[in-house]
Subunit: 152 residues, 4 copies
Amino acid sequence: MSQATIAQIERLTGEQLPFAPAHGFRLEALDSGTATVRAPYSNEFLRPGGTISGPVMMGLADYAVYAAVLSCIGIVELAVTTNLNINFLHRPEPGDLLAYARIIKLGKRLAVGEVEMYVEGEEELVAHVTATYSIPPDSVGSPISKSHRTER
Amino acid sequence: MSQATIAQIERLTGEQLPFAPAHGFRLEALDSGTATVRAPYSNEFLRPGGTISGPVMMGLADYAVYAAVLSCIGIVELAVTTNLNINFLHRPEPGDLLAYARIIKLGKRLAVGEVEMYVEGEEELVAHVTATYSIPPDSVGSPISKSHRTER
Amino acid sequence: MSQATIAQIERLTGEQLPFAPAHGFRLEALDSGTATVRAPYSNEFLRPGGTISGPVMMGLADYAVYAAVLSCIGIVELAVTTNLNINFLHRPEPGDLLAYARIIKLGKRLAVGEVEMYVEGEEELVAHVTATYSIPPDSVGSPISKSHRTER
Amino acid sequence: MSQATIAQIERLTGEQLPFAPAHGFRLEALDSGTATVRAPYSNEFLRPGGTISGPVMMGLADYAVYAAVLSCIGIVELAVTTNLNINFLHRPEPGDLLAYARIIKLGKRLAVGEVEMYVEGEEELVAHVTATYSIPPDSVGSPISKSHRTER
């Protein structure tokens, strides 16, 4: 079960990751360790040929991992990205982008997430991302699910 | 269907990636775009506490992607790694390591693979890797499956 | 000597990387294989506490590498990022961001650039980035400086 | 000034990173936040064509960052790599490899290092690496140089 609700995360996002609401990103699904975020198709994202800009895709992936981290640790301010690696795989066709994030490691101090990004209705991956978040030492959010949390 | 057999790849590996046979890596399964490689548990890999060394895990992941690339393009010499990104997630317990690779992009010039690495019988990911291979311009290997090959 | 002028690159950027002018990024210096890009401090970038958003920093680095690539190969459309890896090192203080890019490999098909990012007047690195660009096969831009171009 | 001597680090390396001495890596220079490691040319590294294997280059870079981290924090066991990203830039010619590492961020919990790798006497970069080390919470090594240590 998620340790935070979509509404709680969206409220925190407005303060902590304003890039996300500014680009219309919507957190659509959330479970313990997973999150789905949608970037609605819109002209402001376009590159010539209808291709969505790289930084927008990076921001979308970052937000999806952020939400997936909070789904594990609850509403914790100041969780910050320390590393993000993106492979751009195919030029996205026009259409909404969907980022599916899942947490692949949750430690006391670091969480690592993986994101697969698609254009809605298409089969090809447009991008693959891994991102690491640093978790503040005295995270006083909701209790942390034992099953996810491991040491390193 | 794979464009190369396990035996063909292992023969090429002996010449091109001698690190793999030198460490006892075994290509155990192969299909179009996927490969499974095993690193048998052995003392020479150990770090104190029974932990397998990082470079061995990187080499294992690299070999798994290599095999998965060849499963798509056939026996092509000189395919070379251009980028590898590894996240070390959990210290591996003693035991055989298994690397599961899948190709997430296959272009004319670049192939990108993703690897999940586990200790056999354990549930936790010990490492996650993405790696990019450069494919030589005039690859004269087996015909390339249309379904995988895409442009960028 | 750069194979493209700042004015030429800024014109292409308006079409190819609209994220850059939309965020006020300015290409300030250009030489063969190097580029400096400025992100003027502005409220729209802010996170609470005055921190500039991660995706903006990624976009800034990407643009700096793009310009440095074009400084080597001339005005070539369709050069695209295939991989970007960013380490966020220190929270940027309020102030203009400066991204210093240099090309560390220039091949026929791939160029790799490295970026160091600072807040103007500060000594600490705020981010370090490596990015790979794919160069189209029949680049018909300006002649390519022999000294940079190498094979892999 | 380095917080550890070459001899101290080599002793710890024998226990913690046995891959390094097993491949003949030698820590040649050390200062506060920097380290130089040599991989002597030897047949066991070879790939056909005289090219050194990728995993050996990754292991060399990892060791160089490890030494540079210890130069800042002193002799601390259990510092572990959490992420490593390598770009392979040029095939190394026969010859000794030299890895030059420098710490680009030193926090309480994470240190990030960058490595440039050359064949001795050659001008081209053969590889570029960034690696992140996790530093144990109660590092009881030598005092930590204030000037390097920063928060994130």
